[in-house]
Structures are given as structure tokens and as C-alpha cells.
């Protein structure tokens, strides 16, 4: 899963798209391998809970 910048520019890109689905759609149109992540705010969007979770992990 690791990649460097040079590999990015020279190899086919494989994308994880977090958020706007239209961005994944336009990549698929270009025959790019893409995983659409239907992102939702973690912990219901409660920033304090997110910070706590990040400290625990």
C-alpha cells in the first residue's frame, strides 16, 4: 500500500475517494480504479468524542 510521489506520477493511479461521489464518477469515466467511500462524520460529528477516540487508537 505504500507509494512514493514518483510512483504516483508514473504508475496508473488507484484512488480512494472520500466524499463527493461525482469525483469518483468522473474517474470511472476515465477507466481509473476507484473506491467510493460514502463518508459520514465519525462519532456523529461530535468533535470531543472524535478527539477522545483518536487518543484511544
Amino acid at each position: 500500500m505504500s507509494s512514493s510521489t514518483n510512483e504516483l506520477l508514473q504508475k496508473p493511479i488507484v484512488v480512494i475517494n472520500l466524499g463527493l461521489k461525482s469525483f469518483a464518477d468522473s474517474l470511472k469515466e476515465q477507466q481509473v480504479e476507484v473506491v467510493q467511500v460514502d463518508w459520514v462524520p465519525p462519532a456523529g460529528g461530535d468533535q470531543e468524542v472524535i478527539d477522545l477516540l483518536d487518543q484511544l487508537l
Binding site: 500500500m1 505504500s2 507509494s3 512514493s4 510521489t5 514518483n6 510512483e7 504516483l8 506520477l9 508514473q10 504508475k11 496508473p12 493511479i13 488507484v14 484512488v15 480512494i16 475517494n17 472520500l18 466524499g19 463527493l20 461521489k21 461525482s22 469525483f23 468522473s26 474517474l27 469515466e29 476515465q30 481509473v32 480504479e33 473506491v35 467510493q36 467511500v37 460514502d38 463518508w39 459520514v40 462524520p41 465519525p42 456523529g44 460529528g45 461530535d46 468533535q47 472524535i50 483518536d54
Partner: protein
């Protein structure tokens, strides 16, 4: 007038989907305003500014859906809110498949991924970008409203890991022939780009394509990258990558003026680069031919394109102003009423607003803006033009909770009409931007407003001159030829580039 609000707990949709829902609601007769948003703090403030505030809105969380409607009568408001599911279902259906919901789950599906494209709300974006870097992914961070401290930390981490963070606020990139986010369809070639100016990247790459050449990679950095605070971390990483990239023979760097320390560091880097570098720092004075500086300095994006074409050794033609300019100036000016003397520019592209100010000011015209080159020309109220005014309609005041003007022309249409009601306005300058994810018919959306605006000036015995540039290629999903043809049929002076359109305006007004 009546209003109503519905809050739906734990019902999350992305902003483009919600804007589509909002547009469908706004088409209902009797609806004056509506907002369809997630319950973030900035969105709650937006509702408060519309006079909508109550305890259920205050209690909403970022994953709660807020729908607010202001209508002519309570019956209309109740009807719309009662039919909310219908409006939600009328859009692109939320995915029924089992797409993953987290970056980690996404990576399980594609452990070979090498790039994360992140467009989640700004307050969550840095966290996701951090996780992506930790997983070894390069990042295109489309989200804005990421703090400068987070940006610096992300870019320092990326530099250590030999990864790229494009953004925050990176709207476009072309990586190995693939257009990301708002990119044009551009053939592959040997010219590499690093750009801290999103529509600058689109204009440069489109013009290179239109000239018959191609792009190896075009890397967006986000607008803050050349600041002294960030120190160009992504710019320098991108330059190093393009220097090593065997496809890239020439490198162009396009930016608004970098910080004072950064200019020197960049120029030093250009000098040591093994490949020829074209440097375009918009807003800075055109300097001497740059051979003495060790790189090729361009004052405008057009200059940068022409220098890159020259350096390529190709025989393709450079960008040149049409020869009929003086005839067009004479024709238009004879139609103006005596009081018509001002230009109003309404831009979807921030770089185009910026470059137009640079061109007009260097021709001696003072220009006011909501995003001025010089703070002395800051508009007190972005909605009230003054003298020559250029408005960047992609700034927060026009885009928080609303679609960007590259996607939806509603606010720009309203502003065109408002400007046409000012008898002192002689010229309206526009940019139209094609490419992936942009409006499929940006010209068609504006046609009614352009016709009405011209009619307004005509009724007063004058003539409204409309000038536009179209940023795009013949391979874009929109039909470039048709878009240009429609504009010309509407009597608009259409130029291949923003720099040409702004130069024509300078000729009209000087």
C-alpha cells in the same frame, strides 16, 4: 411570508447532492429561499443569517440534515417540507450498494491504492488526510477551511514520507493523464505543471492541449502553499518529482505572488533544476527576459503557455490576440451612452479574477474587488460594485452552503442583471469553465440573463458590451465549439483565454 425547518437526525449526504435537492425545491412556485444543509456550525450560522434559528437547529450535529424553506405562504412551506422525501429521492440516489464508509474500509478493498481524494467538510478533512498519509497514500485535499496549522503539519508529515499533499483547497490536478476533480480533458505530453492557482492550472493545461501539445503531470498545491508560513513544501516536492519524471521535459510553475522569502527560494530552485522552468508569479511586475535569472519568467498564463511552446521546440502556433481588436473597440464604444464607463467582471475562477486585475491595473485602470491585489481596492460590500469592479464569485461569501459558480450559475445570473441596471456600466467580463465536474452547459445557463442585461442597456439608449473567455478543450465533456458558438450568437466577444479577454477590456476602457 412564512418559514419552516425540518431536522433529520443521522441522515448524511454530500454537498453536491444537497445542492441538487435545494435547486429542485427552489424551482417550486412560491418558494423564496431554501437551504438544504448538514448541521455544521458554519451552516447553522448561514441559517441564522437568513433569520432561521431555533432550538432544534442549535442542537443539530454535522451528520443531521437541515432543510429550511422560506415561502410566500405557510401552505407552500408545509407542502415542500411534507414532500421532502420526494425531493431527496429526485436526485442521484444515495448509493444502494455497500460502499465502504471509512478510509480504512476503502483500503481493505484496494490495498494497492496510491491516492486519496478527500472532499469531506473542512472540519473533518485534516483528520482524514492524516490517516491517508499514515496509510502511505498521496492526498488530493479538495476540502477547504482546513487550518494553516493543520496544513503545515500535514505537509511536513508528507515530506518526511516522500508523499504529496495537494491542497487544502486543491480543485484540480492531472496525474499521469488522469483528470482529478475540476480538470479539463488534456492529452498527455512532456510539459509538467506545479500550480498554486486552480483555474490557472486549468487554463495553462487547456491551452497547451489546444496548441497541440500535452501535459505529463499537473500538480495542484493549494493556494497557501507558496506562503512563507507553509514555505512551498508541496511546491518543492512536486518540482523534485517532475524533475525526476522521465515523461516531463519542461516544468511550468504558476502561482499568485509567493511570500517574499519564497520568491527567492523558488528562483534558486528553478536555477538548479535540471529541466527548463517557466515561472509565472501572477500579480508581480513583468520582469526582464529571464535568461539572466536562470529561468523563464512569464507575467501571465498566456506568456507561460507561449514560453513552454517555445521551449518544446515544437512548431505549433502560440497564443495571439485576434487582429480585429481595434475595429471591435471602435464598434462597441460608438454604441455606448455618454454615462457608460465602467467594467464589471464576474468570475467563477479565482485566478481569472486575479489575473484580470493584474492586466487592467497595469494598463492604468484602478480596479476594485472582493479579492483585490491591493487592500486599498477592497470593496466594502462585495455585493455593491464601485467604479471598475471584478468579483471572484468562488469566495466564501458566495459559496458557503451554495454551489460554486462553476457548477451553478444562479448567483452570477442575478449579479449580471444587477450590474446591467447600473447605467454607468459599459462592459461585463465573464469566464466560462469547462471540464470534469463543472456545469454541463455553463453558457446555456447564462443566456437568458445575458439577453436581459443587454436589453436593459438598450432601453436606456446604450449598449452593453459583454466579453468572455472559455477555459476548456475540444475533448471536455461539454461541447467547447457549441459553447463558443452560443456566446457569439448572443453578441458576446469570446476569447480563447482570460488574459486576452482582460486585455480587450483594457483596450475598450482606456
Amino acid at each position: 411570508m412564512a418559514s419552516g425547518v425540518v431536522v433529520r437526525r443521522n441522515q448524511y449526504y454530500d454537498s453536491v447532492f444537497l445542492m441538487g435537492v435545494s435547486k429542485r425545491i427552489s424551482d417550486i412556485q412560491g418558494v423564496q429561499q431554501n437551504a438544504v444543509l448538514m448541521g455544521s456550525e458554519s451552516n447553522k450560522e448561514l441559517l441564522a443569517s437568513l433569520g432561521l434559528r431555533d432550538t432544534q437547529i442549535d442542537a443539530a450535529q454535522p451528520n443531521d440534515l437541515l432543510v429550511a424553506v422560506i415561502g410566500d405562504a405557510q401552505a407552500i412551506v408545509s407542502d415542500v417540507l411534507g414532500r421532502l422525501d420526494e425531493f431527496l429521492a429526485g436526485g442521484v440516489q444515495p448509493s444502494a450498494t455497500s460502499n465502504p464508509h471509512t478510509l480504512e474500509d476503502g483500503l481493505e478493498q484496494r490495498p494497492d491504492a496510491n491516492l486519496a481524494v478527500i472532499s469531506v467538510p473542512g472540519e473533518f478533512a485534516a483528520r482524514e488526510a492524516r490517516k491517508a498519509l499514515e496509510a502511505g497514500l498521496n492526498v488530493l485535499l479538495f476540502s477547504d477551511h482546513v487550518s494553516i496549522e493543520d496544513e503545515l503539519a500535514l505537509k511536513q508529515s508528507a515530506t518526511e514520507k516522500n508523499l504529496l499533499v495537494m491542497g487544502p483547497g486543491c480543485g484540480t490536478a492531472l496525474i499521469n493523464g488522469v483528470g482529478l476533480a475540476f480538470a479539463n480533458v488534456v492529452r498527455k505530453g512532456s510539459i509538467g505543471v506545479v500550480a498554486a492557482a486552480g483555474t490557472g492550472l486549468q487554463e495553462f493545461t487547456s491551452q497547451i492541449h489546444n496548441a497541440g501539445l500535452g501535459i505529463s503531470n499537473a500538480i495542484g498545491t493549494g493556494g497557501n502553499d507558496p506562503s512563507d508560513l507553509i514555505g512551498g513544501l508541496t511546491t518543492f516536492s512536486a518540482l523534485a518529482a517532475l524533475e525526476q519524471d522521465p515523461q516531463t521535459k519542461i516544468i511550468a510553475v504558476i502561482s499568485k505572488p509567493p511570500g517574499a522569502k519564497m520568491v527567492q527560494k523558488l528562483i534558486e530552485r528553478f536555477r538548479t533544476c535540471k529541466k527548463p522552468v517557466v515561472g509565472c508569479f501572477l500579480g508581480t511586475a513583468a520582469a526582464s527576459p529571464a535568461t539572466s535569472e536562470g529561468f523563464h519568467r512569464a507575467a501571465t498564463i498566456d506568456d507561460a503557455v507561449n514560453l513552454a511552446i517555445d521551449l518544446s521546440g515544437s512548431k505549433v502556433g502560440s497564443i495571439e490576440m485576434p487582429s480585429e481588436i481595434q475595429d471591435w473597440v471602435t464598434r462597441e464604444k460608438t454604441g455606448w451612452a455618454p454615462e457608460q464607463k465602467y467594467l464589471r467582471g464576474l468570475f467563477a475562477g479565482g485566478t481569472f479574477c486575479y489575473q484580470s486585475q493584474q492586466i487592467l491595473q497595469s494598463s492604468g485602470l484602478p480596479v476594485y474587488s472582493n479579492a483585490p491585489l491591493d487592500k486599498n481596492f477592497q470593496l466594502a460590500d462585495p455585493n455593491r460594485s464601485r467604479g471598475h469592479t471584478l468579483i471572484d464569485m468562488g469566495t466564501d461569501e458566495y459559496t458557503v452552503g451554495r454551489p460554486h459558480p462553476m457548477i451553478d450559475a444562479t448567483l452570477r445570473k442575478q449579479r449580471i442583471l444587477a450590474e446591467s441596471n447600473d447605467p454607468q456600466v459599459a462592459v461585463v467580463l465573464l469566464d466560462l469553465i469547462l471540464g470534469y465536474n463543472a456545469s454541463m452547459d455553463p453558457v446555456g445557463e447564462l443566456m437568458d440573463a445575458l439577453a436581459a442585461a443587454r436589453q436593459n442597456a438598450k432601453k436606456r439608449g446604450g449598449r452593453l458590451t459583454i466579453v468572455a473567455s472559455v477555459c476548456g478543450t475540444d475533448s471536455d465533456p461539454q461541447d467547447l465549439g457549441l459553447q463558443v458558438k452560443l456566446l457569439r450568437q448572443a453578441g458576446v466577444y469570446v476569447f480563447q483565454t482570460n488574459a486576452q479577454a482582460a486585455s480587450f477590456c483594457a483596450a475598450l476602457l482606456n
